[in-house]
Symmetry: C2
Amino acid sequence: MSLLSVDTALEILLEQAQSAGCLEVEELALVEAENRVLAQPLLAQFAMPPWPNSSMDGYAVRSAEVQAGQALPVSQKIFAGQNPEPLAAGSCARIFTGAPMPEGADAVEMQENTQELEDGRVRFVQAVPAAKFVRPKGQEALPGDEILPAGIRLGPIELAMAASLGCAVVRVRRQLRVAVASTGDELVEPGQPLAPGQIYNSNRTLLIQSLKRLNCAVIDLGILPDDAQQTRDRLAAMQDVDLLISSGGVSVGEADYLGQVIREEGELDFWKLALKPGKPFTLGRYQGVPVIGLPGNPTSSLVTFLLLARPYILTRMGVSDPSTQSFVVPVNFAMPVAGVRREFIRVALVEGRAEKIGNQCSGILRSATQSHGLLELPENTTCAVGDRLRFWPFSSLLN
Amino acid sequence: MSLLSVDTALEILLEQAQSAGCLEVEELALVEAENRVLAQPLLAQFAMPPWPNSSMDGYAVRSAEVQAGQALPVSQKIFAGQNPEPLAAGSCARIFTGAPMPEGADAVEMQENTQELEDGRVRFVQAVPAAKFVRPKGQEALPGDEILPAGIRLGPIELAMAASLGCAVVRVRRQLRVAVASTGDELVEPGQPLAPGQIYNSNRTLLIQSLKRLNCAVIDLGILPDDAQQTRDRLAAMQDVDLLISSGGVSVGEADYLGQVIREEGELDFWKLALKPGKPFTLGRYQGVPVIGLPGNPTSSLVTFLLLARPYILTRMGVSDPSTQSFVVPVNFAMPVAGVRREFIRVALVEGRAEKIGNQCSGILRSATQSHGLLELPENTTCAVGDRLRFWPFSSLLN
């Protein structure tokens, strides 16, 4: 069986995600919409700012009336939030940052370039050019401008933008409902005693927490035992699930109860990926629900989730660009033997250079906790100290 | 008044944060500890893995007994989770990935390098060196190893690591309680009608959502009106607050009611930062509670929050390294005139190169929504196309 490239695997996954159809739209208050996906473009309903305003604390003037040394009486004082009178001819207006320009005024001089005279008038040190320190009406947006496109995830900046448009609620896609299962009789949940041959289940925590970062609704199926009937019952009880993600089990022929049950009610493709760590990967369908089966080794599970399941999930969520931000960085180590699989190496950035961290076995999670992200070494490629390779920060991958 | 450098401002802030004392410790279930700060190191209580195990599906053998072409009977079958019998001399054991090695066996051959014979024996194509496909006991950790240091934020990978150590609960710092206030009579909350001269409040949303990403407990003080007594009452009603963050107002002398009230009950330092956007910044104390006053312009508020308030808050939370991941990238634009302030330019990365986005005025938030992060142009420095400058991704800054 030949290896499937990561790129081809991702292509197949994204195609399936796109053809799965859109999630329903719901209206949420801004404060509840963090990390949701915008379902329709957000348009400006009015000019922003709605009126020209001052970008300084100073004096609003008719620029044509001001020469160097000119003194003008102060005819009004305008704070932000006030609605000023038109500017009386031959006068200036005390004005503060963000306050609307009075009708007739076309410029502001900052207070540092003025002197208050004893008679209350203000002397201007220099002439004031038109438009100085004035933010024009509509500088940020005109009515009808598309401010935020559909298909973006709403973070703090996007939500603040929506607030500045006056939106108290936004129309977003509902949460994707993802069921998470671990398989294998060797697994025990933390807090329970370990019998001989058993290990603690880390993938459940890894997957649930990573899915929560994506703002998915998680249905925790716990550990599926190595028993066909119990697995059958557990899956049959799932309701309103958009995706089932499992880790472990599906690659092991003889003890593959989950795979058997899925095949009874659907289909299952088994891939050998040209990916290290993370060779075994399954994609299937159980009673119409898409199934992604990740390998059981913790780092294989992590890498396949981040590189393949995550962009699939983002696409299902309605995100128009599911790609992850990456950077090209110099490496501080050598990999003199080329592999046939694309390798993602756990690295820390030290003064901008990627350092290989500890034990890179797929069963080892500890080195991932000491890393800043994954360094991509393409298939059939070696690397030497100083080479530049693509780095995928965990801060982007787990965003 | 001379400008304060960003570095000096950050130094002062971090010093104050460090001297503020540690937050109390609490025990949380793993599932609730996401983005909390670990209060004490997490040590391995047992060897990981607890016993040598197979990293392949195959056959466990005594390596000395296997030559090329050798056939051995299969004396047992070992699944992951089982506790095997010692390996009978002159036999091999069917073994699956993650299953414990039987006593006496010292190597595993993958099934692809074997043939099942009709009599049930297994023929080995080649000799099997000792230790092949065996994960030794304690490969990941030995009892007493420090696996996670105190002072780290617990993300999905760290929580999964804690799970693999068997920890059902972790000891973390309690949430930092941050009160958020906006000031200014010009501000209106989204969903309300705008009167002439008014604008919608975006900073409240920006700050609350950014603080939630840090897993702070937010106390929303809303908009403080331009009125000393109401401001006094609102602040006096605060309870159990570790930090007050305000935006706007404090820089405007004549309408500075918040500053006045803080000074009545504490102290206030007003800084002019060598920072663009984000010149005005205040640091103070109200009845013993630290106060950070951010500028009112949306992007000034964003930049000062991310560069100064965020590392201060992380340090208060108990994070030992509050720095943010940044990268050096080539720029695709020129800034031919050097400024006296360090400038943070909203940029998008296009094929790895930083492109300047739209309108860079401090009053404009829209260009931040179109950016991937901030590009740092040091004070008194110009830049040309192709120069390499430091880039701060929003995915790290808002992490």
